[in-house]
């Protein structure tokens, strides 16, 4: 079984980032890493390929400046190859533009299953997986906790407010995977060395046959009209626990009459 895992390379979340006051987009002058949210899809794909007894996981990504350090991390986990789309005309792309690009790449790969995170850690729109599915005329199951594949059908446990739904979906399909449902493997030394030589195909918009006017700034058809500092919340009292802090908490709750 062949799986495409969509991965995003993002600025390290430990570095909070900022908007460029000129262009009103995220400053992206920092080194990009693999979005941890995507490591679950990569791991899920590797496990499904193992269970199927054959096939491979291919990575699909879009990033500025042909950035691929995050891709190398996922290749070191065990993905076989990657396709990376970079193009200056993609600057300012929103979720729909991103989905158009990823869908065009995935269509060339003809996978059985497309795995994504439920949302990226830096943009968190959560719409890209279904946008890809709609553009490719495919079914989708979002918020997957568990995936089993048999006879060309994926059975997915889909997270709900109350528990989960058991959803059946014929392949090919797009499934988004929630965080924490599998334990992403740490790349081994051997994996890291092997990743350096794994193929990464680099494409631009012309190579994909996408009109630059349908993506990026122009394609986004939206604008930021104002940026303002949010009202700050004041810090209250901070005490050091001397063994009786629980009494302070109880008194606080009693005052609020919530008990």
């Amino acid at each position: 079984m062949n799986v495409v895992a969509c991965v995003k390379q993002i600025p390290d979340p430990a570095d909070p980032g900022a908007l460029d006051p000129e262009t009103k987009t995220l400053k992206r002058d920092v080194k990009l890493i693999l979005d941890e949210s995507d490591s679950y899809g990569v791991e899920m794909g590797l496990q499904l390929v193992d269970a199927a007894g054959g096939g491979e996981v291919k990575l699909v990504s879009m990033a500025p400046n042909n950035e691929m350090s995050g891709l190398r991390t996922a290749l070191a986990m065990g993905a076989e190859s990657a396709v990376l789309v970079s193009d200056e005309a993609l600057a300012g792309s929103d979720s729909l533009s991103t989905a158009k690009v990823l869908a065009a790449v995935i269509a060339r790969c003809e996978p059985d299953l497309i795995l994504t995170a439920t949302e990226s850690s830096d943009g968190y729109t959560g719409t890209v997986p279904v946008q890809i599915a709609e553009l490719m005329d495919l079914p989708s199951v979002t918020f997957g906790k568990e995936i089993e594949v048999a006879d060309g059908v994926a059975t997915v446990k889909r997270q709900t407010e109350a528990g989960f739904d058991q959803v059946e979906c014929p392949l090919p399909a797009v499934v988004s995977v929630t965080a924490g449902v599998v334990e992403p493997r740490y790349p081994s030394f051997k994996g890291i060395m092997a990743a350096k030589n794994k193929p990464v195909e680099e494409l631009d918009l012309a190579g994909l046959g996408i009109d630059p006017a349908t993506v990026g700034w122009v394609g986004a058809r939206q604008e930021i009209t104002a940026i303002a500092e949010a009202p700050a919340r004041e810090a209250g009292e901070v005490i050091v626990d001397e063994g009786d802090a629980h009494e302070r908490i109880l008194a606080f709750l009693d005052d609020l009459k919530v008990l």
Partner: protein, 322 residues
């Protein structure tokens, strides 16, 4: 000038219309002349409630043996737009199905989506939305630059639901167009995981655990404490990523926004990702070993201490009260 017609994607279960749906209707009726709902399944049970919150019409879409709603709803709305009877604006809640509907529709009719919206205002003949970025330290206003359907995904709890006293909404069936392969994901079975207390996003008290708990087993303290204060247990992203609790427990930017009377953060340092999901709480108590933890910057009562010492005593004291 102004917005002519808003459709709200309606969600409901056995208990009635979702809180998010009623919140969106309440806001929508202050923004547009006509407010209508589009939803899957039988609307007769919720027509009164939706009407009382401002909807005049409910466009219902036939449920096809448990097919997930995203593709069906998107197709039906696209059909209405083509026929010239569709809305100017579609509002959906940032829920499991709301995201599917907004994303599917966006791709189907080639319109962008604005997400993580927490407020909406009229600006001439368009809507502008407000969304928090960088952990809620910055508010961004944004809008679409051209005509055509405007799609907004709005975070729950952004508005307070209030009745307008409107009559029950009229129900009208909306036809689903050709779905190609998009409609093939079907719910075969639903499993309800029993929780005894209130729902996370409705509870008056939320007790959340973070990485400071040290190991998965210690999360039990959070559930015990939540039970004793008739609250709901929540979690930081780190704990969800580690697989200790399901995604539905997550409070934060990628997770739920909660605004309880009291939020108790246990062993949570307060990454910006988490703060945006709980800083709207009326009162915040934080327990953390690290006095430099950012959570103390927004806590009304901060306890610099070990959750493994403070929580057992707190639990014991509450149990003693009976």
């Amino acid at each position: 000038m102004g917005i002519s017609k808003i459709w709200v994607f309606g969600e409901a279960n056995e208990a009635g219309a979702s809180a998010g749906t009623l919140e969106l209707l309440t806001k929508a009726r202050t923004l547009a002349d006509t407010v209508e709902v589009v939803m899957v399944g039988d609307a007769s049970a919720v027509a009164g409630d939706l009407g009382a919150h401002g909807a005049t019409v409910i466009h219902t879409i036939a449920d096809a043996n448990g097919a997930l709603p995203g593709a069906r709803v998107a197709s039906a709305i696209a059909g209405a737009l083509e026929a010239g009877t569709g809305p100017d604006v579609l509002l959906a809640t940032t829920s499991y199905d709301g995201r599917d509907v907004a994303g599917r529709l966006s791709a189907k009719v080639d319109r962008p989506v604005l997400t993580n919206v927490v407020d909406l205002v009229v600006d001439g003949d368009r809507l502008l939305c407000s969304e928090p970025v960088f952990g809620g330290t910055t508010d961004v206003m944004a809008g679409f630059t051209d005509d055509g359907l405007a799609i907004f995904l709005v975070r729950p709890k952004s508005f307070a639901a209030e009745e307008s006293g409107g009559a029950p909404a009229a129900v009208s069936e909306l036809v689903v167009g050709d779905l190609g392969n998009t409609d093939a994901a079907v719910v075969k079975d639903r499993f309800v995981e029993e929780t005894s207390g209130p729902k996370l996003d409705e509870a008056a008290v939320v007790v959340s655990g973070g990485r400071g708990l040290g190991e998965a087993e210690k999360y039990e303290m959070i559930e015990t404490l939540a039970g004793l204060v008739r609250g709901a247990p929540g979690a930081s992203r780190a704990v969800v990523d580690a697989g200790w609790v399901p995604y539905s427990y997550q409070v934060g930017q990628t997770g739920k926004v909660v605004k309880p009377t009291v939020y108790v953060a246990c062993g949570i340092s307060g990454a910006t990702q988490h703060l945006v999901g709980m800083k709207g709480s009326a009162n915040i108590i934080a327990i953390n070993k690290d006095e430099e933890a950012p959570i103390f910057g927004i806590a009304d009562l901060g306890i610099v201490g070990d959750v493994h010492k403070v929580l057992p005593k707190l639990i014991e004291a509450l149990q003693a009260r009976g």
